[in-house]
Amino acid sequence: MDSVRRAADLDLELTPQPVFPAPTSLANGRRGFVGRISTVGAETAAAGGLAAPELERRLLEMGFVEGARVEIIHEGFIGKDPICVRLDDMRVAVRRRDVRGIMVQAGEP
């Protein structure tokens, strides 16, 4: 496991970050948005919710990781919430407030 982690850290340092455009939160994305995840974090939702580190781990476990390709393919009918995201080759449904901490870079690199 340790060697894995070291390799990963190295990888993180070496990967050049794209310079354009500024990352936005996935929670604000509209249907048809395509991009890549630049950072995964979690904000504790205003009206209760999980502690941020726990939410972050759950998002990671569902496949929301840095570098993953995201596309918003469907929106709910009330308040455009929740959203259905194509995450690499999976489809995942999430509420917008849970993905506020996920920053995404528009466009397909």
């Binding site: 939702a45 759950r58 990671l60 476990e61 496949g63 840095e66 709910g76 919430d81 999976m90 449904a93």
Partner: protein
Amino acid sequence: MTAAKVVEPVAGAAPRTLRVALVGNPNSGKTAMFNALTGSRQKVANYAGVTVERKEGHLMGADGRRISILDLPGTYSLRARSPDEVITRDVVLGRLISEPAPDVVVLVADATNLRLVLRLGLEMKAVGIPAVMALNMIDIAERQGLDIDVDRLSRELAMPIIGTVATRRRGMEDLVRLIEERAASAAPVQPSAWREPSAVELRALHREAERIQKACVKPPKRPDTFTGRLDDVLLHPVAGILVLLGVLFLMFQAVFAWAAPLMDLSNSGFEALSAWVGTLLPEGILKSLISDGIIAGVGSVVVFLPQIVILFLFIILLEDFGYMARAAFLLDKIMGGAGLHGRAFIPLLSSFACAIPGIMATRVIDNKHDRLTTILVAPLMTCSARIPVYTLIISAFIPRQQVMGFLNLQGLVFFGLYAAGLVSALTVAFVVRKIFWRSDAEPFLMELPAYKTPDPLNVLRNVLQRAQIFLQRAGTTILSMMILIWFLCAFPGAPSGATGPAIDYSFAGMIGHAIEPVLGPVGFNWQMSVALIPGMAAREVAVGALGTVYSISGDNTSLLGASLAHQWSLASALAFLAWYVFAPQCASTLAVVKRETNSWRWPIIMFLYMTALAYVAAFIVYRIAVAFGAG
């Protein structure tokens, strides 16, 4: 290495059972795999102390060795997030006292969707769990032209891999052979070798999984576009909702219309049985116990079996097809507004037939508080046992007239009672969430699986399993409650020369008379109060109980209706209806809540809050009706 080497060379002693556990992501076809391996040799129970379902089956290995298969709840990670996933983790790591660690774990993977299961496989590899991977649905992967380098994948995950199609039983013999081989070389797991991965470690694991995926899996040549195209319709803000309403309507129609002939059959069957027993036994209390207590009582619950079977048929079909997750997506905003999870609509919908399968179905909800909230409000949905009571009172008291030219007043009242149940359920859920579990809103994170054709055999097996669980409960918990309620209604008997009905002198009668002063302000007379006691057996039993207290022989409901119309005021009748919308008039539901929550706390809370709601509602309805001159 062959399986024969495993067998301890003890002369005459049977080799030890090989313990195998199935682990995998949700929707990986794990249960189909379990069914394919074990056929009908399976047993459903609960893990000690928790309400997680334990499914175990067995088969015979090539050398006659018994192999027991445990179907563990689906999970994305060993870091458990729900009681079900805790069980999976603890069994896999051998931490559960009541469950010895499995000799081999079969990691069931959806061959078309490997990413997340690779990470789970890496977690298992890190702990050194002896595992075999089943690349399930390999036929779909082949059809999509997905190229998987199985040898390399096997090396990376350090586990043998076999392609399977569980629904067609393809690859099962080879899988069993692999399991036996793996068991021969397996070393026991150290439960201490695992600890929760941090976010950093999770990222590292993901990267590793990503690397393996890139190295071993070429993207499909003919990717599945069917799911995407179907989703364009089924998740569409307008079309999707229309389809959902259509599905729900069809389900409702089926539960009520298709089940009706079977329910009538079951009803008349139990009546015939009761009559037949009556001819065998001499007049007396034994006959009363068997025909009035046991047969009529259990019959009044078993009559819901056709509805339960049809309901679960729909639920399992939709689940296997992949639509349930879509419906949860569409309904999440509405359910979420009431503080419920999107998935809660399944149990709530089931509760329209009967709260018992509804409460049993809350197992689809992972989070404990979400699940408890759903359990607490499920009995408020208008179950079909309320229908006979509503029908009796409405037909006796509500005039059959048209409103606004096209609406039937009786139908309108009926609809109003349904709506009251639904609205109150959502309101109570909202209040419970706001007051008790404010700080614990669960994130809604759900994979939407690819659509698949349900396997008929699999569906049939699962439906039968549900029916069996229900009948088991009817034959044990519900049976013993029926006997006790009968006892309350039959003893002590009427003294000689008594004029009133016998129930008036029984314990139930005494309780009824004792609570009458309390129920007086809501317009209940003593007959109504007494009828509530046997009505605890099941809601519709109140109809028969009213017949008993008004000494109307047989099942003549129209005569009973006429008698009630004569003796009750309209205000009392409406208060009785309001009472039945809310009151916890079902001992079986409370017993099931006790079983499902494994504590007396929740059935007691449920009983108290529902009684309070019923009282307040009946009081308000009665007072308003009296004020309008209906007293």
